[in-house]
């Protein structure tokens, strides 16, 4: 691949330098075949700064947090809590105690469903979701539906991959208790108008949950500007480690909620037959958490901040525009989702006559990593009448040269199946 001119002229991101921050790009997938990683929507690669922060933690500071008074326990607690403060700042939360550490986006949404949902939802109450949700924002509500008899309605997706806001307004007339939606679709790439969705929900008296798994990693998200009630995301999709995520919540809501999991750390006091829950955020953090991962998460947020979220978003936009242009020129390729204007760095597509698995498998021979399947959004695929799709997704380290390799690979697939 040409590495001579990888400075993105528009955004002045020095892609060469950025790629050097990620040790994985030094490996070859197979001898002589460099890695073309187009699967960051599933999980992003990790910069050295994150890997080193976690390494250092285990080499120098490892101890369990909170209750200890020895030096290492204090250091570990301090690092764990500093990350929380940095993450709070990253999404402009007004207080660090609004950042609840979870395992991932999925657990964050489940926390809301189990704790807030069980406390506030009863038979017949309406919860509004959308047709473009990841399974992690469907199944927790299905479970509550079976348990409580709540009702679910879905904001429809238009043929060009946008939410039908007029239909949403009609649904709001039925006084929903909750509206939970993806800020950005992991299949269509659609960036939904979160502030407007939330404003309308509030006007109808509903609480809102934002699945920000794909937004927080890719562009500036300000929870106060959005007025989000709850917002969920995962570290591993934003240059951080697996095993840790966040639930952000408004303080009054979090305080009004019963605990989620019970055990150590989430209590103020335990008697044989009773307990008093701890204050925020600890009330929701039972047991020994992912401490090294929290440290890595903090380093990831620092890394993204140092590159600049606006520059990252602009770079991805440029790559996405180019990818759409190149993909659409290939006969038999159908790309799903809206035009680049409403879209983040995700392109899901099908190729006539070839199953997405085969596309992904053949691309892999040239080191091009894309995902194939329903991407945990089966109902959305059904809506578009396809069992599965191939998905190429982009992040700060991807280049136009990599898009060219993707498209060359697709032509090879066509030849083989021709």
């Amino acid at each position: 691949m040409c590495t001579c001119l990888l400075i993105d002229i528009l955004t002045m991101l020095n892609i060469n330098e950025i790629r050097n921050d990620f040790p994985i790009f030094q490996r070859e997938v197979k001898p002589g075949v460099p890695l073309v990683y187009l699967d960051s929507t599933a999980t992003s690669q990790k910069p050295l700064a994150v890997i080193e922060a976690m390494n250092d933690f285990y080499r120098r500071s490892n101890a369990n947090i909170h209750r200890g008074v020895h030096t290492l326990a204090e250091e570990a607690t301090e690092l764990y809590e500093q990350s929380r403060v940095r993450i709070a700042r990253f999404i402009n939360a007004s207080a660090a105690h609004q950042i609840i550490y979870t395992r991932n986006t999925t657990e964050s949404i489940n926390l809301v469903a189990y704790s807030w949902g069980r406390a506030h939802l009863k038979a017949g109450d309406l919860v509004i979701l959308t047709e473009m949700e990841h399974h992690s924002n469907l199944v927790p509500w299905h479970i509550l539906q079976a348990e409580r008899g709540i009702e679910l309605e879905f904001i429809p997706v238009t043929d060009d991959g946008l939410l039908d806001l007029e239909a949403y307004k009609t649904l709001l007339a039925r006084s929903p208790k909750l509206v939970s939606f993806a800020h950005m679709s992991n299949v269509l790439g659609t960036i939904n108008p979160a502030a407007e969705i939330i404003r309308l929900a509030h006007a109808a008296g509903a609480v809102t949950v934002v699945d920000a798994a794909q937004s927080v990693p890719h562009f500036k998200v300000d929870v106060q500007a959005l007025e989000a009630d709850f917002l969920a995301f995962s570290a591993h999709k934003m240059c951080g480690p697996t095993g840790i995520g966040v639930l952000y919540g408004k303080t009054a809501l979090l305080e009004s909620m019963p605990p989620f999991l019970g055990g150590g750390d989430m209590i103020k006091e335990v008697k044989l037959r009773s307990f008093r829950p701890n204050s925020l955020p600890y009330k929701f953090e039972a047991g020994t958490p992912a401490i090294a991962e929290a440290v890595g998460f903090g380093a990831a947020v620092d890394y993204l901040t140092s590159v600049g979220m606006d520059a990252i978003a602009a770079h991805e936009h440029e790559i996405t525009e180019y990818a759409l242009e190149r993909l659409e020129e290939v006969p038999g390729v159908r790309v799903f989702g809206p035009s680049a204007q409403h879209k983040g760095g995700v392109t899901a597509f099908t190729l006539d006559g070839v199953h997405p698995h085969d596309v992904a498998q053949i691309l892999d021979r040239d080191g091009v990593a894309v995902r194939a399947g329903h991407h945990c959004a089966q109902p959305l695929h059904e809506k578009f009448g396809i069992p599965a799709s191939s998905r190429a997704s982009f992040y700060l380290y991807n280049t136009k040269a990599e898009i060219d390799l993707l498209v060359n690979g697709i032509y090879k697939v066509k030849e083989m199946f021709g």
Partner: protein, 131 residues
């Protein structure tokens, strides 16, 4: 040039000889590969002695899953139900003539799983059927 996409696989994928659905049939079973949404339905006709007299598969999925279904269905016509109960993973891999990683193995074995669940009269096609 490519082991996985040998001529025979592409050929059976593009021009399957046994795609379709028997009606009436004596045995029918269908299942999905939940990871990728591949879907296979198999219908069989048998005579009194328990010999398979005709078979078809239907569904959608990748070249590996569809080609192995076509090869499998072709190969079982004339076999007895008892024989089919003893078919295993190696039987499919021998027919395909390729080595597969764990993900694609699931694609390759879906049709055998469906077939065995059908002949055993099970409610569900479990992985243990093809181990």
């Amino acid at each position: 040039m490519d082991d996985l996409y040998r001529e025979v696989i592409i050929e059976h994928y593009k021009n399957p000889g046994y795609r379709g659905r028997l009606d009436p049939y004596d045995i029918r079973f269908a299942d999905n590969n939940p990871l990728c949404g591949d879907h296979i339905e198999i219908t069989l006709r048998t005579d009194e002695s328990g010999t398979i007299t005709d078979a078809r598969f239907d569904g959608h999925g990748c070249a590996i899953s569809q080609a192995s279904a076509d090869l499998l269905v072709e190969s079982i016509i004339g076999k007895s139900i008892e024989e089919v109960k003893h078919l295993n993973k190696e039987y499919i891999l021998d027919m395909l003539g390729i080595d597969l990683g764990p993900v694609r193995l699931k694609c390759a074995l879906l049709s055998l799983k469906v077939l065995k669940a059908g002949v055993y009269g099970l409610g569900e096609a479990s992985d243990s059927l093809v181990e």
